[in-house]
């Protein structure tokens, strides 16, 4: 059953068409990857979905309702939340407060936001540091904090923009496991990443964006062997890299 749907979405910046007539549908509980060359329009597509920017044309449906043009907090209240490509913690709040923001304001009825905040921190493995501030965290931990905050809103759909970027192997694996766990809880995950071994290992389906347009979609295997995708994005020896991480 479709939970998130984009219909003929287009976003232009001056002469540049960053997102060009993109339509897609994601089923409830699915984990879907989004890849594409730099500047393909991936982050822009996420911004259109999450309400940070409004599309020039097209419609976004969440649970069958039109959410185009709503502001980010309204969309969050309807159960869709995203993380940022560059981490954006609340610097002066402790980790538990960071997470509590999601629990308090996410728009779901949470009995005890603080308890919920500890739960999600526990889940991403940061609960021991609950009372410290983010400036003491490593990049990997900050990315996990982004995820924790998003989870605290108890969302239906999560958009992850490059949560594995810039992480070492160990951290990447931790994130991959985390995304897997989130998927196992029945949440819908839509994620962008250039780290193929991470993305391919968690995604059930993969969309490929090139130059603003959706050029392919399919299972990770199909995508990795798609000529067009290899040319536009993966490159010739991508197979090994992805394979190496195939676990």
């Amino acid at each position: 059953m479709t939970v998130l749907e984009g219909e003929q979405l287009t976003k232009r910046f001056g002469g540049i068409v960053a997102v060009d007539d993109v339509s897609f549908a994601i089923d409830r509980g699915e984990t879907v990857g989004l890849i594409g060359p730099n500047g393909a329009g991936k982050s822009t597509l996420f911004r259109l979905i999450s309400g940070v920017q409004e599309p020039n044309e097209g419609t976004v449906y969440l649970d069958g309702n039109d959410i185009t043009g709503l502001s980010p907090h309204e969309i969050c209240h309807r159960g869709l939340v995203r993380t940022h490509q560059i981490v954006r913690p609340f610097e002066t709040l402790t980790l538990v407060e960071n997470a509590a923001v999601g629990a308090e304001f996410g728009g779901r009825d949470v009995d005890d936001p603080e308890e919920r905040a500890h739960e999600v921190l526990e889940f991403v493995g940061l609960d021991e540091m609950a009372h410290t501030t983010p400036d003491e965290l490593s990049v990997g931990a900050l990315k996990r904090l982004e995820i924790a905050r998003a989870l605290a809103t108890d969302p239906e759909v999560l958009l992850f923009d490059e949560v594995a970027g810039g992480l070492d192997t160990e951290e990447t694996e931790a994130i991959v496991d985390l995304i897997g766990d989130i998927g196992d809880q029945g949440k819908t995950v839509f994620l962008i990443d250039h780290v193929m071994r991470a993305l391919m290992s968690v995604s059930e389906r993969v969309f490929v964006l090139d130059n603003g347009s959706l050029i392919a979609s399919g299972t990770p295997d199909e995508i990795q062997n798609d000529r067009r995708v290899i040319e536009a994005y993966l490159g010739e020896n991508a197979g090994e890299t992805a394979g190496a991480a195939g676990d």
Partner: protein
């Protein structure tokens, strides 16, 4: 109904005044745009520059045109010292810290001014004989023409400096990304010192120009600051041509506006325009708004 002559006359008066407004705001705009510091003491620095010119004028009979150069140099040095000794310690501490430091400075300058020169209004005059210039029914004040030309020269000079010199390029780069500028081999600490020097030096020069037209007291700082803000916002922060246009818009709208609304509205007109522009174009008429994430 207001006579056409009067409208044209006011328009021209407004333009001449606007040139001065622009130069009075130029330093504020640069420091704001480049260093992201709102120089709350800008008006008071204008005042100091004006007193430099007044002192040279009354003590040595020096024309404020020369006084302007001296005022620039004096304030340039003051600005550099300010950055080197004080401000560099508070930038990056949040926007209110520099604001308070500069407020403290404004308070000091005003009180020192009061102690040193007293609170009587003083002025210079241009020191070159010149009659009002008449074109038909229209009369233009000679000192205003001279100050207008000098203002334009200062603005143009500043613009060319930023646009065409290597140092200017370095200043612009530092404004956008300090860390990156350092990676390019730019000594950004020095650039800041220089920028504040130029910003306050321009305030000094503008003060000297103002002393030719308006009486100066140690208390004029705040009102010039507000005017200068209006110009900066109209023109867009950090934009030199924008500052000129902002100044002209302000001068003209004030002078023509009072013809129709009455003199009591002079400042209300300018601040209302200022707020409207802020709302319609939050980054000024000629500023640009950043996008992306």
């Amino acid at each position: 109904m207001v006579a056409t002559d009067l409208v044209v006359q006011s328009l021209l008066n407004g333009l001449l005044l606007g040139g001065i407004y622009a130069v009075a705001a130029l330093g504020l705009s640069l420091v704001f745009g480049i260093m992201d510091i709102v120089n709350l003491a800008h008006g008071h620095m204008l005042m100091v520059g004006a007193y430099v010119a007044i002192t040279l004028f009354t003590a040595f009979g020096l024309t404020p045109i020369v006084g302007m150069v001296v005022a620039f140099v004096v304030l340039f040095v003051l600005g550099m010292a300010l950055q080197r000794v004080v401000l560099k310690r508070v930038v990056g501490e949040g926007m209110e810290q520099p604001i308070i430091v500069l407020f403290g400075l404004a308070l000091m300058l005003q009180s020192i001014g009061r102690i040193v020169v007293g609170s009587d209004a003083q002025a210079t005059d241009i020191g070159i004989p010149g009659n009002p210039v008449s074109i038909g029914e229209i009369t233009l004040s000679f000192p205003r023409l001279v100050t207008f030309v000098l203002s334009l020269a200062l603005i143009l000079g500043t613009w060319a400096f930023l646009k065409y010199t290597t140092t200017g390029l370095a200043i612009r780069a530092t404004a956008q990304n300090n860390a990156a500028a350092q990676y390019m081999g730019i000594d950004t600490a020095n650039i800041y010192v220089l920028t504040l020097g130029i910003g306050t030096g321009l305030a000094g020069a503008a003060g000297a120009l103002l002393s030719m037209l308006f009486p100066i007291t140690p208390f004029v700082g705040w009102s010039y600051l507000l005017k200068a803000f209006a110009v900066v916002v109209l023109g867009g922060v950090g934009s030199v041509p924008g500052t000129l246009i902002g100044g002209l818009i302000l001068g003209v709208s004030e002078n023509v506006g009072v013809l129709y609304l009455g003199g009591g509205f002079r400042d209300i007109i300018s601040f209302t325009i200022f707020v409207l522009v802020l709302l319609v174009r939050p980054h000024g008429l000629f500023g640009n708004s950043g996008g992306g994430e």
